[in-house]
């Protein structure tokens, strides 16, 4: 018989390296038409981080995402970056990119202020223009401002910055300290169906409520959560590198290493929790890794809820679940069946 169950799991997860310095540098340069180029040493490995960085730079300069060209991942051309690891790109590289863009912006404010007869701090950058706060009709196109900086002031509109999360080393005895700049939080709830005759588990639905600070791009946040959940489903139910008695892998291929296909994925509902972290770029934190952290836990709790067995070793293969159900049946006082 197929039995349904539900289970929840919540989690916390840090952004960036544990204590260790993990700086990122970034360079932003503004061209004569008011579009920008970001130089970053991070690598696009699929997360969409270059798009996120473009959005951050665009936001700071008051231009659009498409106005930002990103040059990345070439040690000859791009500044030092700790790289695409530890869910750090949005937060650490993002902060560096924002600070670099801010430097360009402040440079333009200095250039434009005398032309508009205001003080630099009375200016803001929005909609491709440097605008007097409260008086949007008094403005200069950001491209003209950049040109003015180059040709009249003699200062190229190029900014660079570094960011490294503030941490405090951990005491080796007690582990006390401040290992990370910030953390994100999340809850996932799974609904499963367990076949109690075979132990087969089908994950029907997962609701995922994730904090990432400000979502720089909600569509890409959803993509991260959905992908993390698929990895979590594999971790919970299917995937395992197996060794023979001599320590040699016996399933090093995609035929025998079982990972989720499109037919194994549940319905996924992604919910982004409103949040703002003052230490992140525009309040953003990160989302890459945490997306899979609670998935296995909530699925395993749902299995428990469905058939009353606690699987304590992953993956919860059908055989393991079945054996646990059998063990539970054998342990129960025998009932006289009708």
């Amino acid at each position: 018989m197929k039995k349904r169950g539900r289970g929840m799991a919540c989690m916390w997860y840090p952004i960036g390296f544990t204590v260790a310095a993990n700086p990122s540098s970034a360079v932003v340069k503004l061209d004569e038409d008011g579009t920008a180029t970001l130089l970053t040493g991070t690598v696009e490995t699929g997360q969409g981080s270059l798009t996120i960085l473009a959005q951050i730079v665009a936001q700071e300069l008051g231009i659009s995402t498409d106005d930002v060209n990103v040059v990345s991942a070439d040690t000859d051309a791009t500044p030092m970056d700790t790289g695409a690891i530890a869910s750090r790109t949005t937060y650490v590289t993002g902060n560096a990119a924002r600070l670099a863009a801010e430097k360009v912006k402040l440079m333009l404010f200095d250039v434009v202020a005398p032309l508009l007869n205001v003080k630099p701090n009375q200016l803001e950058a929005k909609d491709h223009r440097i605008v007097v706060k409260g008086f949007p009709q008094r403005n200069m196109h950001i491209g003209d401002a950049a040109n003015h900086a180059r040709t009249v002031t003699g200062e190229p509109p190029i900014g660079s910055a570094s960011f490294n999360p503030a941490t405090v080393a951990l005491d080796p005895e007690t582990g006390q300290g401040k290992p990370f700049g910030t953390y994100v939080y999340a809850t996932q709830i799974a609904e499963v169906e367990v076949d109690d005759e075979t132990g087969d588990v089908e994950v029907l639905r997962i609701v995922a409520s994730h904090d990432c600070g400000t979502p720089i791009n909600p569509m890409l946040v959803e993509g991260q959560v959905e992908g993390g959940i698929s990895m979590g489903v594999g971790f919970a139910l299917q995937e395992e590198i197996l060794f023979n008695a001599n320590g040699v892998q016996i399933n090093p291929n995609l035929t025998n290493y079982i990972m989720p296909t499109s037919l194994d994925m549940p319905e996924v509902e992604v919910d982004i929790v409103d949040n703002y972290d003052p230490s992140g770029p525009f309040g953003a934190k990160g989302v890459g890794e945490p997306t899979l952290v609670p998935t296995a836990a909530c699925i395993l709790n749902a299995i428990y809820n469905a058939v009353g067995v606690r699987i304590t070793s992953l993956p919860a293969t059908a055989e393991k679940v079945f054996n646990a159900i059998q063990a539970k049946r054998n342990a129960e006082p025998k009932q006289i069946t009708a």
């Binding site: 919540c10 490995t45 665009a58 530890a86 005895e173 291929n253 709790n301 469905a306």
Partner: protein, 486 residues
């Protein structure tokens, strides 16, 4: 169907040759790619809007991905490029008695053969330099590379690898992390100890906390070794220019560290090395350190030609890093109204043959191991040990998915014991703004409860639903004893 009678070198047939052999078939060079797509593109609205933050902007690489025009390493070729393959140990622990490459070197099409003795500094690693570029005297896991071959085709390189004769003195491998944890177990990297990193967190007084608890509950959890499975396997192209400067195209996710490690293994300054990472076809932590880059650099130097290598799918499993298996013991004291008074736990991480990113994984697992809960009295200890298995390293979550599985399973066991709803017990204990973390850090922008409530609402969670699991076995409660089960 004609057969080449004497195929000495089955080198790739160049398009020019094709044209010459079959005149009249072609009216244009075969090399012209058969691709069409509009050059003038309409920019999606979300990319044009300001303010930019919060927009559902399409990806910078979205168009290229869809057209199949993203250039990955394996899509790149250079004139005269060779292909490299690596012969791997196939035994988990052994002394290498001899390596005979003569037959491989004699094969037509083989241009260079490399062993560990050709590597200037044959060790690297992000925190402990315990990993050889090519194993030379000792084998520490079955995926260790021993000999590399560069040849004019991949097939010749692969066949040449098989012709290398390696004599092993096979040693008994250490495979069980709990075995490795014991002091009497022979060191995998003797004289270094098997426990290569430790981490402790002490907060409050756990014994006092247990004494104040109405119930004490234990849990024992284990997790498995997992592979990242990026769809694009590790790939590298290395080439030197006439100025003695090395350019490496690589699937590395961290080019800065990669350059430092690569330069150090080659014994040259980092200024002599340029690393270019293209769009990488998936990382998940598995592409955060160098693998074959030094091997290719040396093969390229030997031959004076660009050299490419792409991992086969089996290589990807046996020769790249994996997720740490964890053995986790939890013991928690709670009051009858569900407040956690104390938690004591131990984590043992199977570190595999090399340290790789174990240090970070150990730290994160240990720091996060108590869960997002206010626990006044906490003791956590974590160890990572060497075994003769595939090295474990960075993987999406760095130990967090493992400990979350443990602390959240444990949490539901506690809820069951107290006959509480899983949502309620979490809400009672969850961090709030300003909570103090296990390491004493004051937390900001904390939204655990919000995420719990929002997920519950979206899911349609109601307390009645928990009857679905009626007839559950209550987790075993213990009333005395304070040691955590090993």
């Amino acid at each position: 169907m004609d057969k080449d009678k004497n195929p000495k070198v089955a080198e790739k047939v160049s398009p020019v040759e094709t044209v010459l052999k079959e005149p009249g078939i072609l009216h244009e060079p075969v090399a012209a790619p058969l691709v069409t797509y509009p050059i003038e593109v309409v920019i999606p609205k979300a990319r044009q809007q300001t303010p930019a933050v919060g927009q559902r902007a399409t990806r910078l690489d979205g168009r290229l991905h869809g057209l199949g025009q993203t250039g990955y390493i394996d899509d790149m070729t250079f004139p005269g490029m060779l292909y490299a393959k690596i012969r791997r140990a196939g035994v988990a622990s052994a002394r290498i008695k001899s390596i005979d490459t003569s037959e491989a070197e004699a094969m037509p099409g083989v241009m260079a053969v490399l062993t560990g003795k050709d590597v200037p500094n044959n060790s690297f690693g992000p925190s402990i330099k315990d990993q050889p570029v090519l194993a030379y005297e000792r084998v520490f896991h079955a995926g260790d590379g021993i000999v590399a071959v560069a040849a004019v085709t991949e097939q010749i390189a692969a066949e040449a690898c098989q012709k290398v004769k390696i004599e092993f003195e096979v040693l008994t491998p250490v495979l069980d992390p709990l075995e490795s944890l014991k002091l009497e177990t022979p060191g995998v990297h003797a004289p270094s100890a098997n426990i290569y990193q430790k981490k402790f967190i002490k907060k409050g007084d756990v014994e006092k906390g247990f004494a104040m608890s109405d119930h004490i509950i234990e849990g024992h959890f284990t997790t498995q070794m997992v592979e990242h499975v990026p769809m694009e396997p590790h790939a590298t192209i290395a080439m030197w220019d006439a100025n003695g400067r090395l350019t490496v195209y690589s699937t590395l996710g961290r080019i800065t560290l990669g350059r430092a490690d690569l330069a150090s293994t080659l014994g040259i300054p980092i200024s002599r090395v340029r690393i270019v990472a293209t769009i990488v076809g998936g990382n998940f932590g598995g592409k955060n350190e160098i693998t074959t880059e030094p091997v290719l650099a040396l093969l390229s130097k030997k031959t004076g030609r660009p050299v490419k290598s792409v991992f086969t799918r089996p290589d990807e499993f046996i020769a790249s890093t994996t997720r740490h298996p964890l053995i986790m013991d939890y013991k928690t004291g709670v009051t009858k109204d569900g407040r956690i008074q104390a938690r004591k736990l131990r984590l043992v991480l199977d570190g595999g043959a090399y340290c790789s990113w174990s240090e970070t994984t150990l730290s994160k697992a240990c720091i996060l191991s108590a869960g997002p809960y206010n626990i006044e009295n906490l003791y956590a200890e974590a160890y990572v040990v060497y075994t003769n298995k595939t090295m474990t390293g960075a993987m999406r979550g760095f130990g967090a998915p493992q400990v979350c599985f443990a602390y959240e399973s444990h949490m539901d066991d506690i809820a069951t014991l107290l006959n509480m709803d899983p949502l309620d017990i979490r809400l009672i204990n969850a961090f709030h703004e300003g909570s103090i973390s296990p390491t004493g850090q004051k937390l900001q922008s904390v939204v655990v409860k919000e995420s719990l409530l929002r997920a519950a609402e979206r899911f349609g969670w109601n307390p009645k639903g928990s009857t679905a699991g009626a007839g559950k076995i209550l987790p075993k409660e213990i009333t005395s004893g304070t040691t955590v089960r090993a």
